[in-house]
């Protein structure tokens, strides 16, 4: 069973997202939460890497709204979930790994 990876830091400020993406396995899911949601932005130096990751990438919607990031700025391949969706993802994975 696969892993749910959570990333809660901005990729511009910390290496968490890059390190996470370098350690995921096929079938894993990456959920961007808190300041981690900036990893889902279009038009940044991380956008291509995120799209090419091979993993399912999700963002926590309430954190996107809080930060005033228009959905037009979120990569189309990224799925938006709420806290219920976060719980479902955690329950559906074998383990949750936090990239702090």
């Amino acid at each position: 069973m696969a892993t749910l990876h959570t990333v809660n830091k901005s990729p511009f400020q910390a290496g968490a997202l890059s390190s996470c993406l370098a350690h995921i396995k096929e079938g894993d899911t990456v959920l961007m939460i808190e300041d981690g949601i900036y990893g889902a932005l279009t038009g940044t130096g991380f956008s291509d890497k995120v799209q090419a990751s091979g993993a399912k990438i999700c963002v926590l919607g309430p954190d996107v709204s809080a930060r005033g990031i228009d959905t037009a700025h979120i990569l189309a391949s990224v799925e938006t979930v709420d806290y219920d969706g976060f719980v479902d993802l955690a329950a559906a994975s074998a383990r949750v790994q936090a990239w702090l």
């Binding site: 940044t44 309430p62 809080a66 005033g68």
Partner: protein
């Protein structure tokens, strides 16, 4: 309280909400406004995210402090320097930021934009021109 007028720069390099630094920085700026110093704010790196429009924090349960930026003009905090390169690297433009205005008392109270979009080199000039630099 003091006759000295110093140049104060509040440097904002962090995103809002993930940590409290942005919000508590703003609290310092509001209090500091009473001291009649020469105040500027710098927004660079992830600090530019603080100024986005349309912030809605209901879903995360935190207090939305972004409207406070629009009140800064009333406190005579009118110089909000935003670094262009920081915005661009994040896929954002001035259109994604709040429209923050102040009334210019030296120009018949004309409404003027508080946000001054400057280059990285100009930001370095602004930083080098200060007496006190407070980083958040």
């Amino acid at each position: 309280m003091s006759e000295t007028v110093k140049k104060f720069l509040y440097v904002n390099r962090r995103a809002p909400y993930g940590t409290i630094y942005a919000q508590e920085a703003l609290e310092v700026v509001l209090i500091g406004a009473a001291f009649d110093q020469d105040v500027s704010m710098a927004f660079l790196d992830d600090g530019v995210f603080q100024l986005t429009k349309g912030q809605d924090t209901k879903g995360i349960g935190l207090k939305n402090f972004s409207p406070t930026f629009r009140a800064l003009g009333d406190y005579e905090v009118t110089k909000l320097y935003v670094e262009r390169e920081s915005l661009e690297e994040r896929g954002l433009s001035l259109d994604d930021l709040q429209d923050i205005q102040y009334e210019d008392e030296d120009d018949d109270w004309a409404e003027k934009p508080s946000i001054r979009l400057i280059s990285r080199a100009e930001m370095a000039d602004v930083m080098a021109d200060q007496d006190v630099v407070l980083s958040f």
